[in-house]
């Protein structure tokens, strides 16, 4: 059972991707990253602050051997800003990964589908490994696939809400139709929800608030690691089909003959 995930030619050993914001301190964030077993962490360009090490998230993450960084464009309101941020982030941290995150409304932080499409179109054509945070819209997912994104990352629920897989029906359609890995990003609260997302066919999950805002982020990171591994093992093992009617283990009508 091959547990590796390949995104844009990069091989990752974990199907858990972690966000780096909202932690009480950098040491806790780093400990949670290590405990999660993740190989890919996203960090906002706006939280890069090399001038002030105690306020910087990028430097400590870059110091973890083998960890890949995925800068994100959180704060960008449109494609133009996101593209500019992506180029600067690539120069600063040397990663080809870019999480396109365009939320024009700074309160609910929901992604703008039109600007996201435009930014992905530009960045995918220039050798970025483009990972768009997007509404759970099956049509948009296919349009993004056509412009060359490495994955699609539909939201399970709004960022920070912890409402889980509120968009489950749409994500099922996206998984069914997608040629690129589908990664649920945002909304997950419990490790069991992450396991369920992988069980239904998501290639990975991205969590941040669920770990950072928990009482014990390092313990929660471990719990997500185990849940994602369990979900993947279940997916690989093939879940039994569901049925609306009971199916007896011994046929009930064999006495009738054929």
């Amino acid at each position: 059972m091959d547990d590796t995930l390949i995104l844009g030619g990069e091989t990752l050993s974990s199907r858990l991707i972690l966000g780096s914001g909202k932690f009480a301190d950098t040491a806790t964030m780093i400990a949670a990253v290590k405990a999660s077993g993740t190989g890919l962490v996203t960090v906002a360009l706006r939280r890069f602050n090399p001038d002030q090490p105690t306020d910087d998230l990028m430097g400590p993450l870059m110091a973890i051997p083998g960890l890949k960084l995925m800068p994100n464009t959180s704060g960008a309101r449109d494609a133009k800003e996101a593209v500019k941020a992506a180029y600067i982030a690539r120069e600063l941290c040397g990663s080809r990964f870019i999480k396109v995150e365009i939320h024009p409304n700074p309160h609910h932080l929901l992604p703008d589908p039109i600007e996201t499409y435009e930014a992905c179109r530009i960045l995918a054509a220039d050798d970025f490994i483009v990972m768009p945070y997007m509404p759970a819209d099956p049509v948009l997912a296919k349009r993004l696939e056509e412009v060359g994104v490495a994955s699609v990352m539909p939201l399970g629920a709004a960022i920070g809400t912890g409402h889980g897989m509120a968009t489950r029906e749409m994500i099922e359609i996206i998984i069914r139709d997608s040629h690129v890995p589908v990664i649920v990003d945002a909304g997950l609260r419990a490790p069991s929800e992450a396991a369920a997302a992988i069980e239904m066919g998501c290639a990975a999950v991205l969590v941040n608030s669920a770990v950072a805002a928990s009482d014990h982020p390092v313990g929660m990171a471990e719990a997500f690691k185990e849940a994602v591994a369990a979900g993947w093992k279940a997916w690989c093992s093939g879940l039994m089909p569901t049925s609306e009617t009971a199916v007896a283990t011994s046929p009930l009508t064999s006495f009738l003959g054929s």
């Binding site: 914001g21 909202k22 932690f23 009480a24 301190d25 950098t26 360009l45 706006r46 939280r47 890069f48 602050n49 002030q52 105690t54 306020d55 704060g75 960008a76 309101r77 800003e81 500019k84 941020a85 600067i88 024009p104 409304n105 700074p106 309160h107 609910h108 932080l109 920070g160 809400t161 912890g162 608030s209 950072a212 805002a213």
Partner: protein, 351 residues
């Protein structure tokens, strides 16, 4: 004659406003206050994580044409008047940068020939070369003037209505541009229409009856968010402090009241930054950090300049209650399991 109030400001029919009104009008037991605080903390943590965003104010000038009865910088106060030159402001800004500050709030009094729009714009331009985030708290402007500030690098405008009660407003603002209630009320909309990305609003608590102030403040936030859906809106909770002029609050708001107001606003606006300044005491600020409040000022000086030269000789606009430096304040936050965040914005997002 007091200005007529727009009808949207007085709307009490919306369910959220009903809830706000009912909660604030009813007595609040210790147990109920504790439960409200727990909800406020959970919502703050859910949306903002275990972080507190920090900023610092820089008073550019205390020249003022305003006649605010309650303000230590009003035009008729006999206080020494100063303004920073560009060179002096640069020194102050670099001193703030050395402290780690990444978001600066530039303040002036009401518009005067000595500290006018051109003066402010030059200083915004200077600050934008030094800080990722540049906010202003000055005088209301035209949309065109705000557009000029956007070009200079201004990201945020803070403008408190002071009081949303038109009659009280008229009584408290004796002359000048600031006597125009509607012009001030509509200024955040002009700023956002001009391309400013974020506005901060608030009522100066103590000037008017606080329940109606909160209802109108809530309605103001809602209107701004609906009309300018790309904009960020934050709410501050300034409370009257002792100042030159000796004005006594007509409607005193004690700490328990203030905490209640903040907690209930957090439950109604779970994704809105709520801001608390150094007007409040260290004990109160420590208690409120992360419990509703998501953003705080730090190491504030309310005299003109004051960061490069720590000898305060002049009275400030009001008395600062929390005089801790950046290091001490951040140590408190870390002790409470909260991460101080200085940089949460990047120059790349400025046009």
């Amino acid at each position: 004659m007091p200005a007529s109030m727009p009808s949207w400001l007085n709307d009490t029919a919306a369910p959220a406003v009903q809830r706000l009104k009912k909660t604030l009008e009813n007595p609040c037991s210790d147990a109920a206050l504790e439960a409200l605080a727990a909800t406020a903390q959970a919502l703050t943590r859910r949306h903002f994580g275990r972080t507190i965003s920090l900023y610092a104010p820089l008073y550019l000038s205390n020249y003022c044409s305003g006649g605010c009865v309650y303000c230590g910088y009003a035009a008729d106060r006999e206080i020494p008047r100063h303004k920073l030159t560009l060179d002096q402001a640069r020194v102050e800004m670099l001193a703030l940068r050395t402290m780690g500050i990444e978001e600066i709030l530039l303040l002036t009094g009401e518009r005067t020939p000595r500290a006018d729009y051109a003066y402010l714009r030059r200083h915004v331009d200077l600050a934008a070369g030094i800080f990722p985030s540049v906010a202003i708290e000055t005088f209301p402007m035209s949309e065109e003037e705000y557009r000029g500030l956007v070009e200079a690098g201004c990201t945020s405008v803070t403008l408190y209505q002071e009081t949303y009660d038109p009659a009280r407003y008229e009584a408290l603002h004796r002359w000048g541009d600031k006597a125009d209630y509607l012009s001030r009320l509509e200024a955040p909309e002009r700023a956002l229409a001009a391309g400013i990305r974020h506005v901060g609003v608030g009522a100066l608590l103590g000037l008017s009856e606080p329940v109606m102030e909160m209802i109108r403040l809530f309605n103001h936030v809602h209107r701004l968010r609906k009309k300018f859906w790309r904009a960020g809106v934050s709410v501050s909770f300034p409370r009257l402090r002792p100042q030159a002029g000796g004005y006594q609050a007509a409607y005193p708001v004690d700490e328990r009241w203030l905490a209640r107001l903040i907690f209930i606003l957090r439950t109604l606006l779970p994704d809105t930054p709520l801001v608390l300044s150094t007007r409040e005491t260290p004990a109160f600020r420590d208690g409120m950090a992360g419990v509703g409040i998501s953003k705080m000022s730090v190491a504030s000086r309310t005299t003109v300049g004051g960061y490069s030269d720590h000898e305060d000789k002049d009275p400030g606009q009001f008395d600062v209650s929390d005089a801790r430096d950046v290091r001490a304040f951040c140590a408190m936050l870390r002790e409470k399991g909260l991460e101080p965040v200085f940089k949460n914005w990047d120059m790349v997002y400025r046009h």
